[in-house]
């Protein structure tokens, strides 16, 4: 990936270090979240926001995402299914609630979305024990519907709730192994 910039590993949003106000993804809701809500949600332990920066401009946020722990109830599933599950009553998942790339880095060759989504997989695999999948809340904003992007990287839609997609951690694990990341 030749971007003319040296990407740094993503890190937790730090209002003292990162310039939240300057971030523009072109989707108002995602921009406002970073400007106004990300820190409050982190303070209240509702979600964590990770930001992507580059070494020659460490204050500039090139992209960000938020993750939070959630659960999927399994108590009423058929017993032949729950018998095989690690826990019979619920499965832990990691919700990828927001995901945004700065407008200037959304175009084809830059590929920052692809990079940031790989980062999500790597981070969640490393961090979340007891997380059986990544679930994404698809936000269709001014830039259109991003579902196709997630489908390309193995996410699957919930049939009755197509605004939500999921990716089993076992698939993530295999991806990371095949890439020699783990």
């Amino acid at each position: 990936m030749n971007l003319g910039l040296t990407l740094l590993p993503t890190e937790l949003l730090d209002p003292l270090k990162h310039d939240r106000e300057a971030f523009r993804s072109g989707v108002k809701e995602l921009d406002l979240f970073l400007h106004q809500k990300a820190r409050k949600e982190a303070d209240h332990n509702l979600s964590k926001t990770f930001v992507l920066t580059a070494s020659d401009r460490p204050r500039q946020i090139l992209g960000y995402y938020t993750i939070s722990p959630k659960h999927i109830n399994t108590t009423d599933l058929p017993s032949e299914l729950t018998r095989k599950l690690p826990r019979y009553n619920e499965l832990g998942v990691t919700l990828l609630g927001r995901f945004a790339i700065a407008e200037a880095y959304q175009q084809g060759d830059f590929g920052l979305g692809r990079h940031l989504l790989a980062d999500v997989k790597y981070r969640v695999w490393n961090l979340a024990t007891g997380s059986f999948a990544i679930v994404v809340d698809v936000l269709t904003g001014e830039k259109g519907d991003p579902t196709g992007f997630y489908l390309k990287y193995d996410f699957m839609p919930f049939v009755d709730n197509p605004q939500k997609l999921f990716l089993p951690m076992k698939t993530v694990e295999k991806t990371l192994r095949d890439a020699n990341l783990i």
Partner: protein
């Protein structure tokens, strides 16, 4: 990431005061009477139920039975990753020198 929890000692009692319109107060008292329990007890149990429901709705994804079943199946038998995904992960590794 820990879920938010109440701090402080277990079972210490504390007060929650609020101003209500006279109408609302009257209808709460009326409802408590219908249930045959003291107003304070009625308010407490109603609030506890509402809080539990809101927390449950926040912490659990609201999905249909069919979706949750398909989810559990996929967790047990996860599909193999696409070439695209593996390529992206390889590029990611290279970009960061991991």
């Amino acid at each position: 990431m820990e879920r938010p929890r109440t701090t402080g000692k277990k079972n210490t009692s504390s007060r929650l005061g609020m101003r209500l319109s006279a109408d609302l107060k009257q209808s709460i008292e009326h409802a408590a009477q219908l249930k045959g329990i003291p107003t304070a007890g009625y308010v407490k149990s109603a609030l506890a139920a509402a809080a539990a429901k809101d927390i449950q709705e926040y912490e659990f994804l609201q999905l249909t039975l069919r979706d949750r079943e398909a989810f559990a199946q996929a967790v047990l038998k996860a599909p193999s990753p696409s070439k695209e995904s593996i390529e992206a992960a390889k590029e990611y590794k290279k970009t960061l020198g991991l």
